[in-house]
């Protein structure tokens, strides 16, 4: 499966005075409730190899009627050291028409961006970035 990086606007800074846009590895995915497969949502998420797990806002879990088990808590520390609480839940993750049995963590706080992390995404694919060609290639491992 091949995707393109998305080019988004950027504001120049003293460090990067000529930067008016930037490329980000954001791809379209579908999160599906395993118990009610007509409950799904299409969302664009950022591929983030620095993230241990995939993380999405709790409002998505609510929307697709996931029965979140609050005992399956996982604390997560961001780069700025603050800790957030997330809850792990099994989902189907559909990408490019392929459906994978995996899981993700759902966070009550409004996260900066939905991310596809090492557990839940990178364990499913061989991921290849070519920044110059602005391409992202995913090869399923199964």
């Amino acid at each position: 499966m091949k995707f393109k990086f998305i080019r988004i606007p950027a504001k120049p800074s003293p460090a990067f005075p000529n930067k008016y846009s930037t490329l980000v590895p954001i791809i379209p995915v579908r999160l599906i409730n395993k118990a009610k497969q007509d409950k799904y949502i299409d969302i664009r998420a950022m591929i983030d190899s620095g993230a241990d797990v995939s993380i999405f806002p709790m409002s998505i879990a609510d929307k697709i009627e996931l029965n979140i088990d609050r005992r399956k808590i996982q604390q997560i520390r961001g780069i700025e050291q603050s800790i957030i609480e997330t809850y792990r839940h099994e989902i189907y993750l559909e990408i490019g028409g392929w459906k994978f049995d995996t899981d993700a963590c759902f966070c009550s706080k409004d996260i900066t961006f939905p991310v596809l992390g090492r557990h839940g995404f990178f364990n499913l694919f061989e991921v290849r970035f070519d920044y110059e060609k602005e391409s992202i290639e995913l090869k399923p491992k199964i």
Binding site: I8, K11, I55, S59, K63, R77, K109, D110, T112
Partner: protein
């Protein structure tokens, strides 16, 4: 302008008004159907509309760079 470049240019223009917001995109055309500061607010704005018709995206802030992050 090449089609690819035009599509990118269009997407850049499309996102400009929505810095740091959640948006609902039409699946047929690159059109923003709704926007809000949080995803929950956006769902509320869409009301009874079938959310499965749309694709949701958080538009990043344009004045910062991103590192592995959650908040």
């Amino acid at each position: 302008m090449e089609n690819k470049e035009k599509a990118e240019h269009d997407f850049l223009d499309l996102l400009k008004p929505y810095e740091d917001m959640w948006i609902a995109l039409s699946k047929d055309n690159p059109i923003v159907i709704g926007s809000a500061k949080t995803l929950e607010e956006l769902f509320n704005k869409l009301g009874e509309e079938d959310y499965r018709k749309f694709e949701f995206m958080k538009v990043p802030a344009f004045n910062v760079c991103y590192a592995p992050h959650y908040l």
